[in-house]
């Protein structure tokens, strides 16, 4: 990439992810408050970063109305107590919102417009169900620009199974079970907790509580159990609630900086941005998106897939991870892939997930100084993929 300055990932945190709905952790918690908590924790964890040195706050949300509206990057910055001189904005690329927040500020840092930025995302899918307030242009269908299934993510996953006939429901379920097991182990090993910020949860009828762990993981999930689940998107289909991510609430954030500024301020860079790419695919098979975006990012970096030692790939659906792995000739259970598990267990609050991938990759890097390169990648609704390649600085 034609970078004038190197861009580094300094630190990332997130709220525990909750299950959406009236019983969920954050049923009565505002989305902007989740972002505020993340921003404040980043500032607290990085005391060498003077608040007035934050040059931008880019926060993604898919549904930018209500408590996710009002230019959430700016409003959350003010609510978090950052100096009023710190600007902010809202950003949207659906599931890749936080990822795009990072790449956008990274571009600005590289160009020299910023020294340090906070990037992240939030999605409170309980308060803002997927598709809230959308008004698709009738031309999409009348001119057959996209297939009718393109806006229903579960259907696009079924379509992906069609495209990759070798990816069976059993393979998808096995991958899902493994994801649950890896998350349970990562929790048991204390890999997840350090980057979670305990977050207050108040419900009028129950009083105050505190979220300290993710709500969605189902340790002990078995193949038999998954086999019994319905396939809501297609009769006798393959996609179930068990081999897909859930409907979740949560926020993420990270500090991104010019490498030279990070060192000057005494911040600890953990990953260096090598390249990034986004790519478009047919919206009705949006899950295939990470393949072209990764190919492009590798090409930009002058790397091959064999150079990548760790993969953080968002598990919107098991099939979409498996399609990626099959394409690149990687085994379903390759230990380089999602070593701490993924969204099938953690959950996937749409626009927030990109930074979760980065935060986990950074922690994995710290344990594996022998690994030089890793990628974070995810599929995106309306037919896109996004990939960021990182270099380990541990």
């Amino acid at each position: 990439m034609p970078a004038s300055r190197e861009v580094v990932f300094v630190d990332g945190v997130r709220t525990p992810f909750g299950k959406s709905g009236p019983k969920g952790l954050y049923a009565e918690t505002r989305a902007d408050d989740l972002v505020v908590r993340v921003i404040r924790e980043l500032m607290r964890r990085n005391p060498n970063l003077p608040p007035d040195r934050v040059d931008e706050v880019a926060i993604a949300a898919t549904t930018q109305i209500g408590d996710q509206g009002l230019t959430i990057g700016r409003s959350a910055a003010v609510l978090a107590g950052l100096p009023k001189s710190v600007p902010g904005y809202a950003i949207d690329r659906m599931c890749a919102g936080a990822m795009t927040a990072v790449t956008s500020v990274a571009g600005g840092i590289s160009f020299g417009a910023y020294d340090v930025a906070i990037a992240g995302g939030v999605e409170h899918m309980g308060r803002h169900p997927m598709g809230e307030g959308v008004d698709p242009n009738p031309r999409f269908l009348s001119e057959q620009l996209v297939d009718g299934s393109a806006l229903v993510m579960g259907m696009t996953a079924e379509n992906l199974h069609d495209r990759f006939p070798s990816i069976t429901k059993d393979r998808a379920d096995a991958f899902a079970v493994a994801s649950q097991e890896k998350v349970a182990k990562a929790y048991a090993d204390g890999k997840i907790q350090p980057d979670l910020v305990p977050t207050a949860t108040r419900k009028a009828a129950e009083g105050w509580g505190l979220a300290t762990v993710d709500e969605a993981p189902r340790p002990g999930t078995t193949l038999e159990g998954l086999g019994a689940l319905k396939t809501p998107f297609r009769a006798h289909g393959r996609v179930t609630a068990g081999n897909a991510s859930g409907i979740n609430d949560g926020a993420t954030g990270c500090v991104v900086a010019a490498e030279e500024v990070a060192r000057e301020l005494g911040l600890t860079p953990r990953m260096r941005l090598v390249s990034y790419a986004f790519a478009g695919v047919d919206p009705e098979v949006m899950g295939v998106g990470p393949i072209p975006s990764t190919e492009r990012a590798l090409r930009l970096a002058g790397l091959s897939i064999g150079d990548i030692g760790l993969f953080e790939i968002n598990e919107a659906f098991a099939v979409q991870v498996l399609a990626f792995l099959e394409h690149f000739g990687i085994a379903d259970d390759d230990p380089r892939v999602n070593p701490y598990g993924g969204a099938i267990a953690f959950g996937h609050p749409l626009a927030s997930s990109g930074v979760r991938l980065m935060t986990q990759l950074a922690r994995e890097f710290s344990e594996r100084p022998d690994v030089r390169y890793g990628i974070t990648t995810m599929c995106v609704g309306m037919g896109m993929g996004g990939t960021v390649i990182w270099e380990n600085l541990a």
């Binding site: 305990p198 129950e206 509580g209 505190l210």
Partner: protein, 702 residues
């Protein structure tokens, strides 16, 4: 029957509409693996506009929650916090009003202690996370906990009990002095309540040592829980300043002197509070809490407290919904204000209108120098506000631009509200209004700040007398919260509604008054002062006369008030009142001589009686004792109030009391004035009956 059962049955049904503050318990996994905390949320189910309070049912709800927690072995700590913006604001006052026996009163204290003290006597540490307003019993809950955190954004922490006539007797007088030392405790328990019920902010509470840690409001609870986890893990040690016995005696003596100076024994509560604070030096918890129970019961059964609760209710409720005010929908919009005159009063009014209404304000005067001086005064005051950081530079620019001066009244052409503050002379004021009427619209309100002239007469020569209204401020305009709004015989509802609406925007409490000489406050104070001066005229030593009413704990003695008002103004008002009611209002020849001599009052610069003034007053041959002066003044007040109510000057005795509290600063424990006259038997003796039914501002019959 257990104690709790006994209290329960005693208090059952006493306040059927108690808004019950619930104690919701949730388990919280503390950070750093510190274990499980049982976190209690105090929440009455309403938003912050209806704060958490504690009546018997609320106390029992907390008791039950603590029962549940006490039976557990898996919790390492207990936490207490509030609903958003509110921790707790203390006892349910409605319940307190309903108490009719010493036994019930004692039960309220005992039940509170029984429940709250458990927080300090659990087997595990307790933490209060004071997230929002914490007053009285709310703050005492926090004090019973072993540790406290406070939000730096919190605006109101107080122990206002002494302000009302109570003591913080659910542990406050015993726990606070030991926590932060007697000197600071006295500040919170006695000094602040007696200084217009001052509140402190979260930051002050932290600095005083009331809280052990402070966190910002954005993530107050989360960071408090982290801190608690670190305390539990021994990573943070809480240090508090030690207090020695030597801290106690001198500050208590000093405080007693201060209280005496302010109250002269008029209200028992601060004295009881001082005794309890003194006791806290040596008393065990049991002894201390028992003494608090006793004090609470005595005070709850005293008329001073009941008058205090009555006064509080007047100020909180009646002042916000003035009796007799017309439908506020009738009020016209005020987008520009005119002030006739550019003297000190006019300038003060201009500043107030500009600040509160944020609309253009034009001062007019015939003299350019006076005008420049008036506008200059406002600009200088705005500058002071800016220097103090009370307003921003932009706001200062805005306010300065809003206030201008004009030599002609043309500038009022588009004004919606014109107030005159010229010399107190009917002819002059009539002339001024006629000139204003020539330029303003037909609906522009013409308000007068007269303190004694007739609104009806002032309006009589106008084409539209219906738009004239009395708008009587009290000096200093920016400080005293009362406005007497006077309806003339022609004043219409739209004008009156506009006046009330403007008053509200000015953040004043208003009372509707009939067009009668001197309205309420000045009529009563002049009558009262007239009796004291008459006694002096008759030969009562000036000191005796002036201190005869010390027992009421008034904000100042009659002669101090005379000094503040100025003898010339007092004489003028006395003459006006004498003209209206020659039988009851005299004009003291000595006062006239005092004015002629150019004296500022009876006191000299050294706060001693001026010997020349003493000489002026010599020659009286029928001196009275202090007691006689007191009775004479109070009887005069009772008579005058009865007459005012019969004349319909205000709609009820409550309005008289509200006026005396807000306009004359008469203390809560007198309930304004009528509760005091009722409880001392003077109303009955002079008028043949009470002003208020028993129980309204006094202990009801059992």
């Amino acid at each position: 029957m257990s104690d709790v059962e006994q209290w329960k049955s005693l208090l059952a049904g006493k306040n059927a509409d108690e808004v019950v503050t619930d104690a919701l318990v949730r388990d919280v996994d503390l950070p750093y693996g510190a274990g499980t905390m049982a976190l209690i949320t105090l929440d009455n189910g309403f938003d912050h506009t209806k704060p958490n309070t504690f009546g018997p049912l609320g106390l029992l709800a907390l008791d039950e929650a603590l029962d549940g927690i006490a039976g557990r072995t898996d919790v390492v700590a207990v936490g207490v916090t509030g609903k958003p913006f509110i921790f707790g604001v203390g006892a349910d006052l409605k319940g307190a009003v309903a108490v009719t026996s010493h036994e019930e009163a004692a039960a309220i204290g005992a039940l509170g202690h029984h429940v709250f003290r458990r927080l300090g006597e659990l087997g595990v540490p307790s933490f209060a996370f004071v997230n929002g307003a914490a007053m009285g019993g709310g703050l005492e809950i926090a004090l019973h906990c072993v540790y406290r955190t406070v939000s730096s954004g919190m605006p109101a922490i107080a122990l206002p009990e002494c302000f009302l006539g109570l003591v913080p007797g659910w542990g406050g007088t015993q726990l606070l002095p030991r926590l932060i030392g007697p000197e600071k405790a006295i500040k919170l328990i006695i000094e602040n309540p007696l200084s217009q019920n001052r509140m402190i902010k979260g930051r002050d509470a932290f600095e005083l040592g009331v809280a052990d840690a402070m966190f910002e409001p954005a993530d107050f609870l989360e960071e408090s829980l982290r801190w608690a986890a670190q305390v539990l893990r021994g990573e943070i040690t809480v240090r508090r300043a030690p207090h020695t016995d030597a801290d106690w005696t001198p500050v208590i003596d000093q405080a007693r002197t201060l209280v005496d100076l302010k109250l002269r024994g008029a209200s028992p509560a601060p004295y009881r509070a001082l005794d309890l604070i003194a006791l806290a030096r040596t008393a065990s918890r049991d002894e201390g809490f028992a003494a608090e129970d006793e004090a609470l019961a005595d005070l709850l059964m005293g008329d001073e407290l009941r008058a205090g609760l009555y006064a509080f209710d007047l100020v909180q409720r009646r002042a916000k919904r003035p009796a007799g005010a017309p439908d506020r929908a009738l009020a016209r919009k005020v987008t520009k204000v005119g002030v006739v005159g550019a003297g000190l009063m006019a300038s003060q009014l201009a500043l107030l209108f500009a600040r509160r209404l944020e609309v253009p304000v034009v001062l007019t005067d015939l003299d350019q120098d006076r005008l420049d001086k008036g506008v200059g005064y406002v600009h200088a005051e705005v500058g002071k506000l800016l220097a103090k950081g009370r307003i921003s530079g932009d706001q200062a620019n805005r306010l300065k631009a809003l206030v201008t001066g004009s030599l002609t009244k043309d500038a009022f052409a588009d004004a919606d509200f014109v107030i005159e503050a010229v010399f107190e002379d009917l002819k002059v004021k009539q002339q001024v209004f006629a000139e204003v009427e020539a330029v303003v619209s037909e609906t522009c309100v013409l308000a007068t700040n007269t303190s004694s002239l007739s609104i009806t007469e002032m309006a009589s020569g106008l084409r539209h007398p219906e738009r004239v209204v009395g708008f009587h401020f009290f000096n200093p305009v920016a400080v005293l919260p009362l406005l007497e709004i006077v309806r003339g015989s022609a004043t219409d509802d739209a004008t009156l509604a506009t006046a009330f609406s403007v008053a509200k925007s000015l953040k004043k409490s208003s009372v509707l008054v009939k067009d009668a000489p001197a309205f309420v406050v000045n009529r009563l104070l002049t009558r009262f002062m007239g009796e004291v001066i008459a006694a002096a005229d008759e030969g009562t030593p000036l000191e005796t006369a002036d201190h005869a009413l010390d027992g009421l704990g008034l904000p100042m003695t009659p002669f101090a008030l005379l000094q503040l008002v100025g003898p010339a103004v007092a004489l003028h008002v006395a003459e006006t009142m004498h003209a209206a009611f020659p039988d009851r209002y005299g004009v003291s020849a000595n006062l006239a001589r005092l004015v002629a001599a150019g004296k500022p009052g009876v006191y000299g610069a050294d706060f001693q009686i001026d010997p020349e003034v003493r000489a002026l007053f010599e020659g009286g041959t029928r001196p009275s004792t202090g007691d006689e002066v007191r009775l004479r003044a109070l009887r005069a007040l009772a008579q005058e109030i009865r007459l005012m109510l019969d004349e319909g000057v205000v709609s009820a005795a409550e309005d008289i009391d509200l006026c005396m509290i807000l306009g004359a600063g008469w203390p809560f424990h007198t309930g304004g004035v009528t509760p005091y006259l009722d409880r001392t038997g003077i109303s009955e003796e002079v008028t043949g009956g009470r002003f208020l039914a028993p129980g309204v501002a006094s202990v009801p019959a059992a």
